[in-house]
């Protein structure tokens, strides 16, 4: 924000006593909110608190039930359908996909193509797209189709799309949820640059360190109510968490049990090559939490998908309980007690147009038979259990999953995988978009599972998560394993060194354990 001495610039966008209800379900209660040029204003709150709904109202996607929005001090009814972009309000939505068939360059310029007369300036758009992506230090071919990108790359494209627009107000709903530390860093550089240019930035994140790092002011929502708007300097991560969750958050991570070195190996991967995977070997012991770290596109997801039979294996072998296995589809791996939770919840995880129950039981539908027919009651009970266990909050249990808040979708997906009662659990970005309170719950659940003797692979771009949870950490780079860390080696700097290719091998001999 501007220096202490200067007067603060006038408010550019404000919400005045905004309330919102979907049907009869209220989700926002009389919220006041404002943002000034050159300021980063973070909105935080639990899953389902109404953050996304608030920014949808601020960008015209939803109309408030009461109250109004002011732009430059004037009350305004924002035009729907993204036309607020013309007023300089640019949004990265939490739950909107890109159009999968378009290329990266097309997506970045969608709706405001560069034209010469009626014709597109294709080369210029491609070069421009390449340039923007370059400033984000991501190496994505501007002519690649979106459908071929990983979730994180898609997110980077969304970011590129947003920052390349002439925004006066840039609104970002959990832009960093799938980004790893390195990407987040370059993203922050861009935010800083825009901020310096006087762009007003609204930022939603569950990563409190990011909030502390970026925000000038923080607004906390809880259950649709405005709790407080305070300057960041007056806050500590603990106090934010306290305001969000409404209770003290003790240790985020449960104490690590010492891994049992003698525990038998339940899953051994030897010289595995598959699409995006080159010669990967590692072993997973019973009761162990094995972290997978690495940069975007380093191949962690590709390893998991090859193991559970989602992508074809080119060479190498997988030993499950000592026996070689090769799954050709997920039903086989699930039957063998190995479950994988994808990080791409919109594209691969959940049916957005189906309800909670249908999604929850999809993986394990066969268990809900009574006689020849599905038993609705048993399914409903399963949902009730999952709702309790994972604290899934849907104000209206009949909503479609697409209308659930992002974090609650994530919890539902976790619940869906756990329905399979797997022995080996592979979770990709387990806490993507999850609030701190629930994160803590999830970490405890994972730790409890491990101590019950389940074996868990945690793929995460959130370094702290891997460090806080894992007994051992596999660091991947460009489809290969760059190193395996154990015990005291597990530290941010060390992981980064392997991930960036500055250090290699080292612990490789431990791989074949």
């Amino acid at each position: 924000m501007a220096g202490q001495g200067e007067p603060a610039p006038p408010v550019i966008l404000a919400a005045k006593r905004i309330s919102k209800a979907f049907g009869e379900v209220p989700v926002l209660f009389s919220i006041d909110f404002d943002i000034r040029p050159g300021e980063v204003h973070a909105i935080i709150g639990e899953n389902g608190a109404g953050k996304s709904t608030l920014i949808k109202i601020l960008s015209g996607l939803e109309q408030p039930s009461s109250g109004h929005v002011e732009l430059d001090g004037q009350p305004i009814e924002l035009p729907p359908d993204g036309q607020a972009g013309k007023l300089g309000i640019v949004v990265i939505h939490q739950e909107l996909n890109l159009a999968e068939h378009l290329t990266v360059a097309d997506s970045i310029f969608l709706g405001r193509e560069l034209k010469q007369g009626p014709f597109l300036k294709l080369r210029q758009m491609r070069d421009e797209a390449a340039r923007i992506l370059d400033t984000l230090h991501v190496h994505i071919d501007p002519e690649a189709r979106i459908s071929t990108l990983s979730v994180a790359d898609k997110q980077m494209v969304e970011i590129a799309k947003a920052i390349s627009r002439d925004a006066r107000i840039l609104i970002m709903d959990e832009p960093t949820a799938v980004l790893s530390a390195a990407e987040t860093k370059t993203f922050f550089e861009q935010v800083d640059r825009l901020k310096a240019k006087g762009v007003a930035i609204i930022f939603i994140s569950h990563k409190l360190d990011e909030v502390m790092r970026l925000a000038d002011r923080v607004t906390v929502l809880r259950d649709g109510q405005l709790i407080a708007t305070v300057g960041t300097e007056a806050l500590t991560p603990d106090s934010i968490a306290q305001m969000m969750v409404g209770r003290e958050l003790s240790n985020l991570y449960p104490p690590k049990h010492e891994a049992d070195v003698d525990a038998d190996t339940v899953l051994a991967v030897r010289n595995l090559s598959a699409p995006g995977v080159r010669d990967v070997s590692f072993a997973l012991r019973r009761g162990e939490i094995l972290g997978f770290a690495g940069l975007i596109g380093s191949g962690r997801t590709a390893v998991a998908e090859a193991i559970v039979g989602l992508s074809p294996i080119e060479s190498g072998e997988i030993l499950h309980e000592g026996k070689p296995v090769r799954f050709s589809d997920v039903s086989q791996s699930v039957a063998a007690g190995i479950a994988y939770m994808t990080k791409d919840r919109k594209g691969k995880g959940l049916l957005l147009s189906a309800n909670l129950k249908d999604n929850l039981t999809l993986l394990t539908l066969k268990r809900h038979y009574k006689g020849p027919f599905l038993d609705d009651k048993s399914e409903t009970e399963a949902l009730e259990r999952a709702v309790r266990r994972f604290d899934i909050r849907a104000r209206d249990p009949a909503v479609k999953v697409g209308q659930l808040s992002g974090g609650n979708q994530q919890k539902l997906m976790l619940g869906k995988m756990m329905e399979a009662e797997p022995e080996i659990i592979i979770i990709d970005e387990p806490t993507r978009g999850i609030d701190v309170g629930t994160k803590q719950q999830i970490y405890h659940i994972i730790a409890a599972l491990a101590s019950e003797g389940k074996s868990i692979i945690v793929i995460s771009s959130e370094m702290q998560e891997v460090i806080g949870m894992a007994h051992r950490v596999v660091v991947m780079r460009e489809g290969r394993i760059a190193g395996v860390l154990e015990g005291a080696e597990i530290a941010e700097a060390e992981i980064m060194r392997y991930a960036a290719g500055l250090k290699q091998g080292g612990a490789n001999e431990r791989l074949s354990a």
């Binding site: 589809d329 995880g349 147009s353 993986l363 249990p397």
Partner: protein, 341 residues
């Protein structure tokens, strides 16, 4: 708060239930309006005979459309059903005639024909499914191809003409179309049976849920341990089975099959499915709606035959307008409800 939220949730659930009913009721309302119009134009519309005629006729398209509901729900399409029906009918007749020649006429002749029909239906459906899933060819192209193939084959076997069932076999077979049980014609019983089985499959078994999952997002289905190719193939096989059942009740009607049999049934079947509220792009299927859709289509044809206030030449136009209006009313009222929310 948790209590009040729960209470609130309850009311909404009640409402939602109601909403859902109205939604399913959409096509039904259209059908009722249509029947009222029919009765107003000609009271004979409501005679028992006419109602029985409408129901019996809608059985063919209806049974096929039940199968099509699964195919479409799982994101596919089957254009071959009409010519498949013609082909199966022709083969049934050939087989039964041959059986009559070699071993005389009995109930077994007819059962043999029916068995042959079922086998051919399953096989034809499997071919469609296999080419779409394993061959990775668009369903539209596969079934356009098989549509041409079956139509050609029946023309070929019938030598361009009509295959007629041996008259003695016909006598045995005839009741399957013309008799009634509890005053309801047999084809209608078959239709009711197929619809109920279809409804249960769609709404009360994993298979139906899988179809919807595949149609709405194939990747999610794959990641959810669903054998996508197998389920998709099964939808085509089911479709084939439905076609064979429809053919089994069709053949005793006229006892013949030719290249003109079943022309455009595919369009009618798909139309019935869509009128019933199933989404053409997949992901959402309603057997109940399909049944009503088939009845609507048959009723339109029937009503047009019962009046002569409009030029014959314009039958097609009236039909078109009614279909569009029926769907509009149903969607329109649905839209309004959504807005009001």
């Amino acid at each position: 708060m948790s209590v009040s939220a729960h209470d609130r949730a309850k009311t909404r659930k009640g409402l939602a239930g109601f909403k859902f009913d109205l939604k399913t009721a959409g096509p039904l309302v259209a059908l009722i309006v249509l029947c009222a119009i029919g009765f107003a134009l000609n009271p004979a519309f409501a005679s028992e005979g006419n109602i029985a005629n409408i129901l019996t006729r809608s059985a063919f398209i209806g049974i096929i459309a039940v199968g099509a509901t699964f195919v479409i729900t799982a994101g596919g399409i089957d254009l071959s059903v009409g010519s498949m029906a013609a082909f199966i009918a022709g083969m049934m007749i050939l087989v039964m005639n041959a059986a009559v020649d070699t071993m005389g006429v009995s109930v077994w002749t007819v059962l043999l024909g029916c068995g042959c029909s079922v086998i051919l239906g399953l096989g034809a459906g499997f071919i469609n499914g296999f080419l779409t899933t394993k061959g990775k060819i668009e369903a539209f192209i596969v079934t356009l191809g098989t549509m041409g193939i079956y139509r050609s084959l029946i023309t070929y076997f019938a030598n361009g003409g009509t295959l007629s069932l041996d008259s003695s076999a016909r006598e045995v077979y005839r009741p399957v179309y013309y008799e009634s049980f509890l005053r309801i014609p047999i084809p209608v019983w078959v239709f009711i049976f197929v619809a109920i089985v279809g409804w249960v499959l769609m709404n009360r078994t994993a298979f139906g849920r899988y179809c919807m999952a595949i149609g709405s997002n194939e990747a999610v289905a794959r990641y959810s341990a669903i054998k996508v190719d197998r389920i998709k193939t099964i939808t085509y096989v089911l479709q084939g089975l439905c076609v064979s059942l429809a053919t089994i009740i069709y053949v005793p009607r006229l006892g013949s099959a030719s290249s003109a049999t079943g022309v455009l049934w595919e369009l009618e079947a798909i139309a019935a499915v869509i009128i019933g509220g199933t989404v053409l792009k997949g992901g959402f299927g309603r057997i109940g709606g399909t049944v009503v859709g088939a009845l609507i289509l048959t009723a339109i044809g029937n009503i047009l035959n019962l009046t002569d206030i409009i030029s014959n030449y314009l039958n097609g136009a009236v039909q078109g307008v009614i279909i569009v209006v029926a769907v509009y009313l149903q969607r329109g009222s649905f839209q309004r409800r959504r807005k009001a929310e």
